[in-house]
Amino acid sequence: MATAVEDKPGERQSPLSDAVVVRFAGDSGDGMQLTGGQFTLSSALAGNDFATFPDFPAEIRAPQGTLFGVSAFQINFGSSAIETAGDAPDVLVAMNPAALKTNVPQLKQGGLIIADEGEFNDRNLAKAKYDANPLEDGSLAKWQLLKLNISQLTMDAVKPFGLGNKEALRCKNMWTLGLSLWMFDRDRQPLIDWLNGKFAKDPNLAAANVAALNAGHAYGETAELAGPLKQHHVDPAPVAPGLYRTLTGAEGIALGLVAGAQLAKLPMFFGGYPITPASAILHHLSRLKEYDVTTFQAEDEIAAICSAIGASYGGSLGVTSSSGPGIALKGEAMGLAIMTELPLVIVNSQRGGPSTGLPTKTEQSDLYQAVYGRNGDAPMPVISARSPGDAFECAIEAVRIAVQYMTPVMLLTDGYIANAAEPWAVPDLTSYEDFPVEFLTEVPEGGFKPYGRDEKLARPWVKPGTPGLLHRIGGIEKEVDTGHINYAPANHQAMTDIRKDKIDGIKVPGQVVELGAEGGKLAVVGWGSTFGPIHQAVRRKRAEGKDVSHVHIRHIWPLPANLGELLKSYDKVIVPEMNTGQLKTVLRDQYLVDAKPVNKVSGQPFTIAEIEAAIEEALK
């Protein structure tokens, strides 16, 4: 069982830059996501700021040792503010030849490769399409190479526990994690506690994993390698005192929706259908029944949104969630929610498209779909989250707009935000202003008008079951005020105008400048998960004295009232997006500004360097 562990932080440490990027890469069965996740936790406990990037194949268990079966987890941690998962890794842990081959090109020159040479046999080299063993042929000369037979070392460490060969080798990731913990001067005890909890039903397996972890750590401590393996200590990042936790985007959305429903004093109904990368939201919410949350796994995407609209009609907060292809299927029902003016939150965790596209990779290419993608003149508010923590805030905002304006609202996030984790200062919920919904329960003065309107142009919300307010709604054009079927030309004009005016009139906060100043030579305008690389790139360029500012848009529709004037106050505007220029088009259309696109659609997030290059180019 677990032995007492006394690590002495601060001894034998080498100075290092204020941030380090480590990439764990292995076969999709090697447990790299788990290794990365636990290393993330240890970084949090060490007080580092961090950002992570899980990068895994769409196949659940791709054939072993193949190039397309490589699963990687990247973490950037440091003692200053971290906003991206880092450009080029400083350290690459490669568990087999395929992992090395697919990941080593990104490694910083002079960076460290830790390779499990036990896996570099002829068979695996052939699968990775290596003609010669790269660990032997000098092809890795521009990096520091550390070859360890991790497989054998792990087998030796877990020998006393009598595991089978396969089971024993599965402890490799813990050996690697142990070594990584030593390298970065991390406390092992939380990981040991976690392992004992995880394998509580099989104490022998828990002990074997702990032994592997300790062996990896001990290896670092005692090997006395003269070469690259030195212990580093990354100082804690200066952060505000308070309670912190790690938060993924999916968790941020789920918790924000629950918070939003509570602030609106409504039960929540979530209709979903499994789809990558949105399913995690359904999973999280399914466990929160005591928060008045009902989750429903529908028979398809259409039924998921229709059931949510049905629940909203019944007086619950209806929510549905999907990713691009599923959102496409929901389009007709969104139109009905617009026509019947019922509140609804639609979460789109964007992924690479079109069609099935790249299910596990990130992209921001559903902005057109969100803003324009319905039949008829069908305006709908669109909000985009920039990070996991921001997803919490955006979910609350989406709920608020939905119930106050009686409208469906789309909340955009993406695969990168959904899976990535960041440290999150747990907010104090009492600091949020509630917005309790008032259902109409009695005939108001002047009579009941199902499509009568308040000052926000919102119609009343009446729950079926309410005596005296019986009425019918539907997708056919409604008559002004009464809501009866009406095909008259003037009525359709009036209703179309009202629907547009209602959405245009939604009060959204004024656009702020994230970094820099109002007006100047260049604005870098972003939305969603590109926040990190844009922010860092602008910060670096400003540190070099460049006149560049960062503007990041949360409210995609309606846009903030001051945005047009703000954009016109810069000589140039560039818009980095993980698509072929969608926000750029909207900005050009709305404000006649000469916004220039900076596009990337590789399924990978922007690197800071790429944005820096775009800034340089724009300032030429």
């Binding site: 007080g47 309670l243 912190y244 059931s307 009609y313 079926p464």
Partner: protein, 346 residues
Amino acid sequence: MNEMTTIAKPTTTLKDWETDQEVRWCPGCGDYAILKAVQRTMPEIGTAPENTVFISGIGCSSRFPYYMETYGFHTIHGRAPAFATGLKLANPGLDIWIVTGDGDGLSIGGNHTMHLIRRNLDCQIMLFNNEIYGLTKGQYSPTSRVGTSSPSTPYGSVDRPAQPAAFALGAGARFVARGFDVSKKLPEVLKAAHAHKGAAFIEIFQNCIVYNKDVFEDFAAPKGAEDRQLWLENGEPMLFAKGTKGIALDSEELHLKVVDVVDGDWQSAGVIVHDVTNRSVAHMLVEMRFGEFPMALGVLYDDPRPTFEADVWRQNKAASEGKTADLQGLLKKGQTWTVTEGGPEL
């Protein structure tokens, strides 16, 4: 969650269930008769209009909610069951009626019909089967007979029709009934459907006077109806033609057969006594081919099981037992650390 609405037993008349909206079906459409039958049935059921919701998809039948003085939701094509599911889960106290047609419920919405029945959501599904697309002007439908000539099948349809009642039973229905638009017995069928707790599927043959006129006349015409209609009554022998014929089981070939009944002695003719809970016989009844057999009408099968919404609410309640909805506590869940002036700690 919303409070469960308790259904009172109010006294209403047919008039209380009529809206002020002009009914806009073609003159002579079977929908008029069904509408009246429903409005006549509601006071007898003794439910309150405000606790009643009619939900429809798209098609001629789907205009139905506009004419019922209840809550009503005219949704999108084929999806009424999905809206009903969300609404019923949000408020199980509501009495939900789904109005659909052969195109809406079996073609574009077949998937949702199947899953609603499989889950056994407590509601009534009235499927108006007129074997044609009326609202889009006469194309053949999934229940049209082979050879149906229509604008989209000028040389006759070649695909075999779906059988709504067989489809419902195959999807796991616990209540299957049949009636037709102008039948005097339709209110009784509707009442039985309402009394059934769970998804109650009612196939209502409906005459489309414009595009598929009198397609059901072979069994629905008053003249000779006795010989062509088998009205099923629980606990009663399956007799028709004024008691001179009955339905028996060919126990060697395992199928139903028509037998002659002499002097009312149906027992010796082997006529089956209808047991609405007998699922095996129900499977044979829904498959009975008209022509060789009379048209089986009335309640073919009725054997309730726990409903979906009740199970969901039960599970939600059980999973919440002993837990408080402390969201601030939830935010702090998992592995957290506190940053103080001195640095982070667990």
